[in-house]
Symmetry: C2
Subunit: 283 residues, 2 copies
């Protein structure tokens, strides 16, 4: 998905929020906003939103602090998710259709997204909603078919905390899972540290994709990750940024996400607030 003009104000809002999380003073916040606008002014229009987001968050780190502004937020998200993890497992255990329920729980966890909203969410309320929600796009049947023939799945992670919800889904997958996170911090995206904090190492092999970018920008990924990506018979890609990078990257990819912004809503053809299992366009 290519960047829309509607993404421009959103990047500036995000840059400002990240600057504040990083503890920037007014002048530093102002500089980040100015530099983000300069970058947007020179932007090549064909790029995807995650490519731009990656650069925005680099500006914040350069201008204010090299450490991760979202560290505390990510820790809090993981702790909040872990606190309901036993209940999430119980719901799956009691379900007549455990895989369907576990997919829904993984999608519910996608509510954790500090690129879109600057507040913590009521996780439990979201779980209850998503468990009974009608899908806006539902390619679950195709996903199940692929799960029968594939010998493993590459699972592209999204945000810290959401990792706990993904763990619940991974526990229900009938084949081995490689769980790919970011090599370095960007937004509240999960790194290896966040995946470990969620206990994903108990259920999957964790790798990083070599980048400090949201989504999966293949041109930036490490050769090791590209190898894993190319040989994967099936890919589950979580969240909006992965949709933005891989929406037309081939039919072995299934995007699981909540629609959280009007731009994605328009691009994917589903209402804001909706839930989606979407097989990417054939390559």
């Amino acid at each position: 998905m290519k960047i829309y003009l509607d993404c421009y104000p959103c990047f500036i809002r995000q840059a400002l929020h990240a600057s504040r999380l990083a503890g920037g003073n007014f002048n530093q916040q102002h500089q980040v906003v100015i530099k983000t606008m300069t970058l947007l002014g020179k932007l090549r229009l064909g790029i995807t939103p995650p490519e731009m987001a990656c650069q925005v968050h680099r500006i914040v780190r350069e201008e204010i602090s090299a450490t991760d502004p979202y560290q505390e937020v990510k820790h809090a998200s993981t702790q909040a998710a872990l606190s309901i993890y036993p209940k999430l497992r119980q719901i799956v255990a009691n379900s007549k259709n455990p895989l369907n329920t576990a997919i829904r729980i993984s999608i519910a966890g996608n509510i954790i997204d500090f690129g879109i909203s600057e507040h913590h969410h009521d996780l439990w309320q979201t779980v209850e909603k998503v468990l009974n929600q009608k899908y806006e796009i539902d390619d679950e049947t195709s996903l199940r078919l692929k799960l029968q023939s594939a010998d493993h799945v590459l699972f592209l992670a999204d945000n810290a905390g959401e990792t706990v919800f993904d763990r619940v889904l991974i526990e229900q997958l009938p084949i081995p899972v490689i769980y790919a996170v970011k090599r370095a911090p960007t937004l509240n995206d999960a790194t290896i540290e966040d995946a470990l904090a969620a206990g994903v190492d108990f259920v999957a092999k964790i790798v990083d994709n070599g980048t400090d970018a949201p989504g999966t920008i293949l041109s930036m990924c490490s050769p090791e990750f590209i190898g894993i990506y190319k040989t994967a018979p099936l890919i589950i890609a979580k969240g909006q940024a992965n949709y933005e990078s891989l929406s037309d990257a081939g039919s072995k990819i299934f995007c699981l996400l909540q629609i959280k912004c009007p731009v994605i809503s328009k691009d994917i053809g589903a209402a804001v607030g909706g839930i989606v299992i979407r097989q990417s366009a054939s390559d």
Copy 2:
């Protein structure tokens, strides 16, 4: 009130929305966004949001169309308000405290604001809410006192459609009213044409302030308007943009508004969604 960094993304969103309303194609929308960011990049930090908004909407008119992008939206707002005008009058007629009720109705009309939201609102629902809402800031007693001693009031209008709600309040004011609108279009702000469409000429003398800017930017106003402003013993100023321009311009000014954005909320010290009658700081 000086511009906040949080206003920057909002201006870009507003510029894009206005470009689309003006019928701009993608390249024109892109140019408007680029020029707005360039302007924001050079911005003197001490200016008020309406000074910036004025320039943003000039860019839209220069790049896309000299005609008013908000003409249809304004017409629709006025028609929607006129359709409930008889019911609004009836509510005041049945009220035990007609002035208090009429002030609330005028504030309810402040929900019409295409600078903040890009959608039409449920006017009647807003009226019912505001009629029973507790004020976040309530200087009604001071306003009533001023109304007893003043020989006339200068009423600074805000948006088209809101004009109809203002008319209901003006009908209850015990002294003559001068109703000031914008000389030329900016955002969905009322011009003389919009005030006439609302029938304000039946209850007040209508003047324009000489500008094409939201709020009341005194440095841009005509000498005739400045004369009216200076000699007015009492000023009622509607909406956020008037608050932004006149929040500390003297105790003869009373701002009547709904709090519709987090920046104003922080500046004025009242929750988003709240209603306010606020006497400006003494000069």
